[in-house]
Amino acid sequence: MSRTRWIFLGIIVFAVVIVAASILLSQQTNEPGGAALTVERPDALKIRVLTALPVEPWVRSAAEAFNAGDYDVEGVPIEVEISAVDGLTALGRWDRNDYGALPADVRPEDLSEAERAALSGFPTAWIPDSRYLVELANASYKERLGRDVFLTDGEYRARPIAISLFAWGLYNSRAAVLEDEFGVINWSTIHDAAIARGGWPELGGEPSWGFFKLVVPNPSKNVGGLAAMIAMAGEYYDRTNISVEDIANPQFQVWLRELMGAVTDFSSASAYTAEDFALFGYSVGDGGQLLESDLLQNMQGIRTRWEDPLRIYYPEYVTWFDFPFSVWVGPETTALQKNAALEFQRFLLSDEQQKAALAFGLRPANPNIAVDAVENSLFAQWEDQGVQTVVPRTTAMRSPDRDVLLTLLRWFELNVAQ
């Protein structure tokens, strides 16, 4: 063989050795580096559902039943994981993209193994308190990605799974005194009670009750706090649509500050305001406007712990929460996961689970189920305390826009929280 051929052979051997060495090196990582995204059929399918606090106990119990059942999508068993998170808090995380949605120009198959692994905890679905939170999240992503991430129509559209509304809950002893004094329970009369300089004795109550104490959720932990402030504004202005200018009105701010000044403790309040209300009883709050389902879930506990049950009243301006089950439609979750989420959504809307929701004080989204359809319906159980199966004719507050929400949050931070 000529010298040239030897050189040729040598170069080939050298190249083969380099390639073989690189293959060996990459095999040592136990990770096939740079392998393309392959759609493999998994053994099990895990989906994570961010769930608003008021429906979390019911949805979690439904998820346990679902996981114990024989549910699958295309033959792959589904496991549902529930993460409880307040709707407004979740919106803040979507806004900051804390969950790690991909930029518009990045595809999952372009990611490294580690980056793909980081997406494994990405929420498959979100059940916020109200559909307006979904709209705000969509607006945020539309700016960033140029498209909606939760759909409002089609197969994957957000569907309400239960509904509830804000109602007054007052301890019986205190409610009787306020009714005698004012005749009606609304934000205006509650404001009058809150600013009574002589406290309860001035209103006709016991001296030991101290001052009138209002319960309002902390808006930085519970979206119900903002809903309460919007309801206050609605009654103050006697209309359903509240603007930033309305919030900025100095007279309104004085009135709002007087009302909020009757709250005993925002700092220690947890996200579960109705539970706090029950645990600490009339010592921290004589009454407040809270979600009907939260109040109903704690009615028995309040009677057991404090002997003084709650009385329920319905306001003229009502804020509704409809808990839309919203499937994330971006590429961060697989088609199988999205379909698994739909399967769980169908399960939640089934007659059986809608009846189960009654035990948590939620009004069914499924119109086939009446609120007193089951024996343990909290609506039937607490009818004598003012709970009504059919909500009296009221006016629904309109959903606030992002600027109104931000203005209220900032007002709260500057004037109440600090």
Binding site: V19, T29, Q300, A417
Partner: protein
């Protein structure tokens, strides 16, 4: 005729040309293969580097990526109960899906220290202070510590240091008084309030009461109640009202009646048990202390007075820390999250809730009646489960911080001598750790009217730095003295303590808490005075008591002598070693 090569001929290259093409082909192929290899190797190297442990990471506590071991920092009062429940939880041998054992360890940590440690690289993954107000303080400090400003259109929520908060038990803060004292105050027929206690404390020099330091919920509440009373308010306390001169004068007058502060209610209970009825007439503490005392101590009962103006609840939250915000901090593992969730469920389960009720707490499970069979609330008049009727309004964190600052200037002042053994046996790590502990103590004393002195002794008193108010210059002088301490000589313990007590008594400052904190690691072998001499000096105070805190550093100290010295000085004896001497000095500083 043009000379045109036939197609077959066109490809029939010369031998030289064929070799040239082969070499070019081989080189091209090699380049291609090498590029592929380089790319793959580069990818491998990138992945390897990406997965390599971060060299800058965790210098502090570490745990493995699949650890299911959870350490929970718990306020000292709750720690014994929670330790028992953690043992019960661990005995269940629950495992994570990947087969790791879920275990929970309880560490007793003062709430204020818990907040400070939770801000960066803490040795625990979850916390349970005695009140949610500490969680609020933590979140506030976490936010202040450097979350970047967000765009105006972003909802400013969702970035928290804690998550998964649950409550497992609550207990209202009450004024615990002996039954005889409670009846004199008007119980059970009349409402008794903070102002009644403050009035009697300022008008009756024999009335002895106490609230713990403001680093516990009960101590903070008692202080807030004083500021409210001083400002003539029961709600809406503002920074301006809290710092008005009339408010500060009132608080200062009330604080002057405090016998001592201290680290928490458990110490008060220990001292009540040791010294009996005459130690205190009343103190501020959780309702469960009254239940526990009456259950375990036959004789005169304690009565829980629910203050008429309102009180505060200790609500014992449990929260998971969201660690891993910096490279120097490990994240909580998925398995630790599972352990946290399982432990939270266990604590709120019926079995644990009944155990908490038995321990005198009000369980978070509202289905458990407080007046049911076996409940310590049932049939008792010393506590009343229908109370409290109202609470004081909790001011926002900014006002609380103002109150805490103002309290440091109005609280009862302290004259304290640090008596320090620097004999030869203290050489090495002991003297180094002692210097650090003393320096930390001097830094922690913040009261504008507090005075600190140092007595360094070995075979005799080596140096005597008289009491001085701690402004920047005097603080620096004391730190220099501490820095210069050298271990050499014998041990003349009693002589040094005698000198400190004698000097305190000569000051005749009966408005202040006068105290000596003495630390030694050995036996007294050089003193000219005896313990009897010291006891006689302490008893001859003519109405101006000096409290003695004694610390046995290491195992060679004369614990018997130190215990008797502490008894003679109505103080406390404590043990310490190199690992906890600084923490002990910090705890003792809460008494001042």
């Amino acid at each position: 005729m043009s000379h045109r090569r036939a197609p077959s001929q066109a490809f029939r290259l010369s031998k030289r040309n064929r070799n040239f093409v082969a070499v070019v082909g081989a080189v091209a192929l090699s380049i291609l293969l090498c590029c592929t290899a380089t790319y793959r190797s580069g990818m491998w190297l990138t992945d390897a580097l990406r997965n390599r442990p971060d060299a800058s990471a965790p210098a502090g506590p570490t745990w493995t990526a699949d650890s299911a071991d959870l350490t929970v920092a718990v306020s000292p009062m709750m720690a014994p109960v929670l330790s028992q429940l953690a043992d019960d939880f661990n005995a269940r041998n629950q495992t994570t899906p990947d087969g790791r054992n879920m275990t929970v360890t309880i560490a007793a940590v003062n709430p204020e220290k818990m907040v400070v440690e939770a801000l960066g690289n803490p040795p625990f993954q979850a916390i349970s202070p005695d009140s949610s107000l500490w969680l609020d303080q933590l979140e506030q400090r976490w936010t202040d510590a450097g979350i970047p400003q967000e765009s105006d259109s972003v909802i400013p929520l969702g970035q928290s240091r804690t998550s998964g908060q649950v409550r497992y038990a609550v207990s209202p803060v009450v004024i615990a008084a002996w039954e005889e004292v409670a009846r004199e105050l008007g119980w059970p027929d009349q409402a008794v309030g903070w102002q009644d206690i403050q009035r009697i404390a300022t008008s009756d020099p024999d009335f002895k009461w106490n609230h713990s330091s403001t680093n516990t919920a009960s101590g903070l509440l008692a202080t807030l109640a004083e500021f409210y009373a001083g400002a003539g308010l029961v709600r809406g306390l503002t920074a301006e009202a809290a710092t008005a001169q009339s408010t500060l004068d009132y608080v200062q007058a009330v604080e002057a009646t405090i016998r001592f502060y201290g680290e928490g209610e458990e110490v008060i209970v220990q001292r009540l048990a040791a010294e009996g009825r005459n130690f205190l007439d009343a103190f501020v503490g959780q309702e469960r202390v009254v239940i526990e005392w009456n259950r375990t101590h036959p004789g005169e009962r304690l009565i829980a007075i629910y203050p008429a103006e309102g009180t505060l609840w200790t609500d014992h939250p449990l929260a998971l820390l969201e660690l891993g915000a910096s490279a120097a901090e490990l994240s909580v593992t998925d398995n630790q999250r599972l352990t946290y969730r399982a432990f939270a469920e266990f604590l709120t389960g019926r079995e644990s809730q009944l155990a908490l009720l038995a321990a005198g707490y009000r369980p978070a499970d509202l289905d458990i009646p407080l007046d049911g069979p076996d409940s310590p609330f049932a049939g008792a008049d010393a506590v009343d489960w229908r109370e409290p009727q109202t609470t004081l309004q909790m001011p926002p964190p900014s006002v609380i911080n103002v109150v805490l600052d103002a309290w440091r200037y109005t609280k009862r002042p302290t004259n304290v001598y640090l008596v320090v053994d620097t004999s030869g046996s203290m050489e090495g790590e002991k003297i180094r750790r002692t210097r650090e502990a003393l320096a930390a103590f001097v830094e922690q004393v913040q009261g504008s009217r507090d005075r600190v002195g140092i007595v360094e002794f070995a075979s005799s008193v080596k140096s005597f730095a008289p009491l001085s108010t701690l402004d920047d210059a005097s603080r620096r002088d004391l730190l220099d003295i501490i820095d210069d301490m050298q271990a050499i000589g014998g041990t003349a313990l009693i002589d040094a303590v005698y000198a400190a007590v004698e000097d305190l008594q000569s000051q005749r400052d009966d408005q202040a808490i006068n105290a000596v904190v003495v630390m030694t690691d050995g036996l007294d072998n050089d003193s000219r005075r005896s313990l009897n001499d010291l006891s006689r000096l302490l008893q001859s105070h003519n109405g101006m008591p000096v409290v003695l805190f004694t610390i046995a550093f290491g195992r060679d100290a004369d614990e018997s002598l130190l215990t008797r010295m502490a008894e003679a000085g109505n103080g406390q004896f404590r043990r310490a070693d190199e690992t906890d001497i600084e923490e002990l000095y910090r705890i003792i500083s809460t008494y001042f």
